[in-house]
Amino acid sequence: MSRSLNFSVSDTINAFITTIPEVSYEDGPLSGTTVAIKDNISTRGVETTCASKILKGYIPPYDAHVVTLLKEAGAAIVGKTNMDEFGMGTTTENSAFGPTLNPCDPARVPGGSSGGSAAAVAAGYCDMALGSDTGGSIRCPAAFCGIVGLKPTYGRVSRYGLIAYANSLEQIGPMAKDVTGVSRLFSVIAGHDKRDSTSVDRPYTHTPDPSIKGLKIGLPSEFFGEGVDPKVAESVRNAVNTLERAGAEAVPCSMPSMSHALAAYYVICTSEASSNLARFDGVRYGPGGDLRKSWHEEFSDRRQERFGKEVRRRIILGTFSLAAGYFGRYYQKAQTARQMVRDDFNRLFKDVDLVAGPTMPSIAFRLKEKSDPLQMYLSDILTVPANLAGVPAISVPCAKVDGMPVGLQLIGRHFEDEKVIDAAFAYEQEAA
C-alpha cells in the first residue's frame, strides 16, 4: 500500500542540498523510515549535484541500485545531503552550496565528505542516511557528529549510480544513530548487482549479536602514536577496555605499512579522479556553455568556472602522477604500498579477529582550521588503510573530548562485516 509523509525541517546546519517535501513510500522492512541520500548517489527525477556547480540542474534519468532497493524496502527518501564536492574533502567545506555545520557545535565542521548525511542523522532530521566512503568519508563524519557509520567490504554494495570519484576504493554504506539502525539499512542495500562489475553476491541478513566472548582485537601502535591527540587515544583505549569487559581480548600489534598508506592513497585517488572527472565536459549534462569556442578552450573554461579548487587540485595531481615519466615513480609505487597494507591486514588477521583504533586522530576541526590541503589529507591517516585493503570498518561513538564526540573504529576481515557490526553492538550495549 502506498502512503505518504510530509518532510519539513528547519535546516539550520545546511545538511541538505535538496529536500523532498512530499514523500511517498510503500510497505516493507523500512516502511516509513526517513532516509537521506548523499548527493553523489543518483536519484531518478531528483537533482543530483555532487555539491558541484558543474552538475547544477542535473536530473538523473535512473536510480542508483541502492536507491531502487531502498524504495522497494519502503524507505521514505527525504532529501539529498551536502558533501565535499565529488567527495573530495574531510570537512564538507568544499561544497558549492556552503559548508555543513556540526550539530554538536556549529563552530566546527561535521567531517566529510558525507558530512551532510552524518549531520542530518545527528540533528534528528531523519532516521538514517547513505554515505559513500573513499578514504574515510562515512567513518570520519560519523565520528565527528557522534553517530554510527559503516564502510562495507569492497564489493558488498553495488556502486551502480554512485557518481564515481575513485572506483577501486569507494563503497556506499549505511549511517544511523545506533548499530541496530546501521545493520537494518545495510541489510537492505547489500547484495549482488550485475550492473557493477565489482559487485559480489554476499547479501547481509544478520541481526547484531553482542556476545563477543573470546573475540581477539589487535591494537596497532601506529593508531595510537604520533599525530593522534593523546586525549582521543586515551578515550579509545578506555573503549577497548569496555570491549574486554564484554569478553573480548585485546593484544598489541603493529602495522608498518601505515607509514606509506596515506601517500599511496592520495596518489591512487587523485589518479582515478583525474580520469573519472574527464566526463564532466558540460555537453551531456550540467549547465551549457559557449559552443562557438574551440573544444579545449571551452572545456577548460567551463571546468575552471564550475569545479572548486580542491577538485582542480586533485585532477592536476592525478594527471601529474599518471603522466609519462612519472607513472613508475608515483602510481606503480603506490600500488606496491597498497599491497603492503593488504599484506599487513592479512598477517594481523591470522592472529586477531578485528583491528581497533580511533576513527580520526582528533575531534572535529573548527571551520576553516584545515586551510592547507596537505594538512587536511594527513587527518585521513587512520581511515585510508581499510579502503586500500577493501576490508570492512565501522565507527561507533565511544566518548567525548572537549565536549565533542570521538569514534572507535573497528576493522575486520574481508566479508566479515557481521563481526565488525557485532563488536560495535557489544560496545554499545556494554557502555550503555
Binding site: 606509506h260 555537453v283 594527471t319 603522466a323
Partner: protein, 89 residues
C-alpha cells in the same frame, strides 16, 4: 618540487583552467604534496596488486538501456537527437 610552468602545462593537459592569480597557490600546494609523495620512492617496484581476480565477460547482447530521449534529457543543447558540442577542429 614542481614549477609554476609544470602546473600550467599539466592543467592544460587536463583541461582544467587555472588563472594567473591561482597559479602560485596551486604550485606551492602541489609542490608540498608531491614532496610528501616522494617517500614512495624508497619502495621496491612491485608487481602491483595481485588479487587473483579474473575478468567476467558477458555476451554482447542488447539489454535494457536509457531511451534516446532520456539520454539527451540533461543536455543543454541538442540537434536531431544528438548532443551538440563545441568544435574539435
Amino acid at each position: 618540487m614542481v614549477l609554476s610552468e609544470d602546473v600550467r602545462k599539466i592543467a592544460k593537459l587536463a583541461d582544467v583552467g587555472v588563472d594567473d592569480g591561482e597559479l602560485e597557490e596551486f604550485t606551492s600546494q602541489c609542490s608540498d604534496i608531491l614532496t610528501y609523495f616522494e617517500m614512495l620512492d624508497a619502495l621496491p617496484q612491485g608487481a602491483g596488486i595481485d588479487r587473483g581476480l579474473v575478468n567476467i565477460f558477458r555476451e554482447d547482447e542488447v539489454t535494457e538501456s536509457l531511451s534516446q530521449k532520456e539520454a539527451l534529457s540533461n543536455a543543454a543543447e541538442t540537434e536531431d537527437g544528438y548532443f551538440k558540442a563545441p568544435r574539435v577542429m
